[in-house]
Symmetry: C2
Subunit: 286 residues, 2 copies
Amino acid sequence: MPEMKTIEFTKEMQEYAEGLRRRGQKLSFVPTMGYFHEGHLELMREAKKLADCLIVSIYVNPTQFGPKEDLSKYPRDFARDAEMAKTVGVDIIFYPDSKEIYPEGYQTYVTVEEVTKNLCGLSRPGHFRGVTTICAKLFHIVKPHVAVFGKKDYQQYVTIKRMVDDLNMDLEIIGLPTIREADGLAMSSRNVYLKDNERQSALTLIASLKRAQKLYDEGERKASVIIGEAEKIIKAAPYTEIDYIKICDTQTLQDIDKIEGQAIIALAVKVAQTRLIDNHVFGDVI
Amino acid sequence: MPEMKTIEFTKEMQEYAEGLRRRGQKLSFVPTMGYFHEGHLELMREAKKLADCLIVSIYVNPTQFGPKEDLSKYPRDFARDAEMAKTVGVDIIFYPDSKEIYPEGYQTYVTVEEVTKNLCGLSRPGHFRGVTTICAKLFHIVKPHVAVFGKKDYQQYVTIKRMVDDLNMDLEIIGLPTIREADGLAMSSRNVYLKDNERQSALTLIASLKRAQKLYDEGERKASVIIGEAEKIIKAAPYTEIDYIKICDTQTLQDIDKIEGQAIIALAVKVAQTRLIDNHVFGDVI
């Protein structure tokens, strides 16, 4: 592979990808909204191992933001991102603008119905339709054999996997564990919004997940009891406002009352102005 | 190419198509619901000219039928279809069953919003969502470079083209003119439902389109006048019940009052129990 290449146009990306595929190369893909942190880089490192050519897209997708959400202030820094991408061996950055992605007259959407109903689907109507639509588009443009997602956005990971299976897209979706700061805060581009004292409060997210796992270890299986304890920890901190704390089946993402099979505790909390999410699958290391 | 091959499984079809693509072969595709007539064969002959390998799918897609429509009685005859396909040089028939296409837990749909609202979209809610979803799936399974559709289903053709553009699917959609019986009736698998006297009434569809073109030739541009005249012809015949007769822009498929740019007259008429559609773009040969 020559040095890292940036492609801005759909047709050029498709032709380039098609050429690589014809030559028998395996392509891996990490779709992102940029403003990279260690979590993104870890996805890229893993994706790099899986293929001959690693493609990363950077596109802040407007259709997955609600009208009152942080689209316009979402952090962006292409030059910084490109430098970071180079260090982990990214081969191609696909960096389109919105005219290229949603031209005038655009009117097609992909919807995954069931697994998007609960959790963030409740508080962010239209969000997952935006996510699945942009991912379908990017998969058609980048033509990867494998795409890698972080499991911090667990519902997104399940939704994309479902879309790929249902629509017979011929690629593999891989989910990787959440990468955390030294103090346990899940990495997110939105963490830059947090002031020092807010960041302290944000640590109650991981604390509540740890508490949930501890209760589980002690034999507790009632969702309401575990959720109640997690809630207490978060509510005790200033600036926090819980959007949801739920325990769900890891496949269907439907609420469960009693943990029997594989279950996940997922939460969304607003810390001052910043909405953070995190989750933990019971039994996993935390 | 060896003799015609039938493939029933998604994974096998994908691997076969991927192998052909890697060897530099060009693939063309005609998706059908089977029960072939000359219109289908004409699509296949044209598609055959465009590629090294011609793939035809036969699948009566349940999600594009409404609850009161003719899914269960839709005509089927695979052996006959396979014989007919051979005569026009089809290389592969993809012939899946519904367990393969919509497995348990299926929940993903593709929706094209604007161009599906009018015409058949008004009387067949959910129909185009079924069409776009199955086509997206089939395109991912068959991996064609080009797919060929008949323009008898003009709204379907426009909708699929829109989906492919919007979702950046890397294939070309080609629409071919409607093939007609000697007496002008547009070919359709549903024509077998018509009894002799009903078939006579069905000829008022083409008669009304011809009348519309004649009025246009004489300088008439008011949609209401042309529609009124077309309506008279159809209403004069027994067994007919008009679902719609509309004049629309050929791109947006929105109703127009006065013909200025490219316009289409499209109609749907129930003749006894059989719903027939037909259309004509003003200025085209009829």
